[in-house]
């Protein structure tokens, strides 16, 4: 394909891919009566902030935003920490049972979460966690994917660096902290992004376990809004945009790490 042709094809592709996002943004700023009049359209020529005003007037949006931020941050912190430690042990330390652990972790990668939700719920209920953020944080922090990513990255980590540290008198753990971790920044970046993104976007489990509107996160509230507002797409899209904004910004700013992370962490 010649270059102009490729450019044109890319232009069309990009147009198609960006359309749903444009639709979200446009409808979020379209007045309600314009939607009721002629249905949703990408160009009504009328703009408003009323959809957003309506949301902030009726709901504790800031609170939901804060909840989501808190839950996602704590989950990310916990999951990145335990996965870094565990992944390193699985990749670089030798011990009996290692093969078995790797196998079990791989098997849990294919467990659909909705399938184990009932026993999971019964579990957190018995632990007395329902109605607390921990009911969301603890189960979400145990992701096999993060552990697997960390292991894959550390398998490729040069042994010589670790050995040099050991010769200098470091214990296994000191070597991990002083030599391995500082060199694992790309891995940490991609793990953080993935964990934060997954948790930020989760709506079903928090909806089931949090129970109290004061504790809801933004995506949970968005789901409720959808069922309550039916087809007031203006309000729904305004909320959808608000809940997507942090990740969109984060993605555009950290895009380089994101792509590098995929490239280097060995998920391909």
């Amino acid at each position: 394909m010649s270059r102009p042709v490729r450019f044109l094809v890319c232009l069309v592709v990009a147009g198609v891919f960006v359309l749903p996002l444009v639709a979200m943004v446009v409808i979020a700023f379209t007045p309600r009566d314009a939607l009721l009049d002629g249905g949703a359209s990408l160009w009504t020529g009328r703009w408003t902030l009323d959809n957003f005003r309506g949301l902030f007037d009726q709901f504790p949006v800031a609170r939901w935003f804060g909840n989501a931020l808190l839950v996602a941050s704590l989950t990310t912190l916990l999951s990145v920490t335990v996965n870094l430690l565990g992944g390193y042990a699985l990749a670089k330390l030798r011990f009996r049972g290692r093969g078995l652990v790797v196998l079990v972790v791989l098997a849990t990668l294919v467990v659909p979460t909705q399938v184990i939700m009932i026993p999971q719920f019964e579990l957190v209920a018995r632990l007395g966690l329902v109605g607390f953020f921990w009911a969301v944080i603890l189960p979400s922090a145990s992701t096999a994917l993060g552990l697997f990513l960390a292991r894959q990255f550390f398998v490729g980590f040069p042994d010589e660096l670790v050995e040099a540290a050991r010769v200098d008198g470091c214990t296994t753990f000191q070597a991990f902290r002083r030599v391995v971790l500082p060199n694992a920044r790309p891995l940490m970046a991609v793990m953080t992004l993935l964990a934060f993104m997954t948790q930020w976007n989760d709506f079903l489990w928090p909806l089931i376990t949090l129970r109290d509107p004061d504790l809801y996160t933004l995506p949970v509230a968005l789901r409720l809004l959808q069922t309550a507002y039916d087809n007031d797409y203006g309000g729904i899209m305004a909320m959808a945009l608000l809940s997507s904004l942090p990740l969109l910004v984060m993605f555009v700013v950290l895009q380089r790490y994101f792509v590098a992370g995929i490239t280097r962490s060995g998920i391909r």
Binding site: M1, R3, R6, F7, C10, V13, F17, P20, L21, A23, M24, G38, G39, A40, V82, L85, G86, A89, L93, R94, F95, R96, R98, V101, V105, L109, V111, P112, Q114, V115, I116, M117, I118, P119, E122, L123, A125, L138, P139, S142, L147, D159, E163, R166, V167, T171, F176, W200, N201, F203, L204, P219, Q226, N231, A240, L247, F251, V259, T263, R268
Partner: protein, 304 residues
């Protein structure tokens, strides 16, 4: 120097494990294994047990042998869900991976605005499945949706995206592909950077057309990437939930009911049949594991 070194000095990494190293390893793994064991493996085993129970409330449950599985065999909705899931998978996996490959090849070489194009294609990755589904509703709503609006402007009649089963499935597939293709593309682009330019050059010198070079040289070199992407897409497709749950909730009728949405409805829906929901889930899990193993084995065989 601080405290004396507790561990015996350098049993080097890569040498056969000392007992000390095993202890460190288990200590480092402990927090993770604890979380995985309690919140993932435990519930998984529990779900397997529930499949053999008549259980309709938390706490309760009586053993019922294979009753749930017997019911499954005669359950038309289950078979419909299995068929729907198979159709959804058979379309989304090949189309998703091929589109990813095509776009990666298209955007691999220098092009004005390439960075922007790439970003646009993989931006949907960060959009949650919930928001994706809500946008899907906005686009495909039969009465006020954008797609039908555009069709009306073009003088065409409204398309029944929500009341026609096949079209509802199509709308779910479109939104799934939209959110997923970017990932395949990024992974392929990363893999393309590892393709040795000399090999490509050699093919050119031998007189291969660009198309032949791509088809016969580049694509075969990408096989490990393709394997990974097919596998991960297979798992995602077989376990599709959010998009269906929000966009169609399995309807109209049962025409978009998938295995996971059915398992969820049986368990958490008005039926509240935890045992039966778990049974559907267990069957789904077993099929996923089988598909994964098959795919891995096929890959190892073709590499020999």
């Amino acid at each position: 120097m601080t405290a004396p070194v507790v561990e015996p000095p350098p049993p080097l990494v890569g040498t056969t494990g000392s007992r000390g190293q095993a202890r460190v390893a288990w200590t480092m793994l402990a927090p993770n294994l604890l979380l995985l064991g309690v919140f993932l493996l435990g519930p998984l085993v529990w779900a397997f047990l529930m499949a053999f129970q008549e259980k309709r409330s938390f706490g309760g449950g009586t053993w019922s042998g294979l009753d749930n599985f017997a019911r499954l065999l005669g359950d038309d909705v289950f078979w419909r869900a299995l068929l729907n899931t198979a159709v959804f998978t058979a379309v989304t996996v090949p189309v998703g991976v091929l589109l990813g490959l095509g776009l990666a090849l298209l955007m691999d070489k220098a092009l004005p605005g390439r960075g922007v194009f790439r970003t646009i294609v993989y931006l949907p990755i960060v959009i949650s499945s919930l928001v994706t589904s809500l946008i899907g509703l906005l686009l495909f709503d039969e009465t006020v949706g954008i797609v039908n609006g555009v069709l009306a402007d073009l003088g065409l009649g409204a398309v029944s995206w929500q009341s026609d089963g096949t079209l509802a499935m199509a709308s779910v597939i479109v939104m799934t592909l939209w959110s997923r293709v970017g990932f395949s593309m990024v992974v392929y682009i990363a893999a393309l950077q590892d393709v040795d330019p000399q090999v490509v050059e050699a093919a050119r010198v031998d007189g291969a057309t660009p198309w032949q070079t791509t088809r016969r040289v580049v694509v075969p070199l990408l096989r490990p990437t393709t394997f990974f992407l097919v596998l991960i897409n297979l798992i995602w497709s077989f376990q599709v939930f959010d998009v269906v749950y929000v966009m169609t909730n399995g309807g109209p009728g049962y025409s978009t009911t998938m295995l996971v949405t059915y398992a969820y409805d049986e368990g958490f829906g008005p039926a509240r049949n935890f045992g039966y929901g778990a049974t559907v889930g267990v069957v789904l899990f077993v099929i996923t594991v089988l598909l994964t193993v098959l795919q891995v084995r096929r890959n190892t065989r073709s590499e020999v």
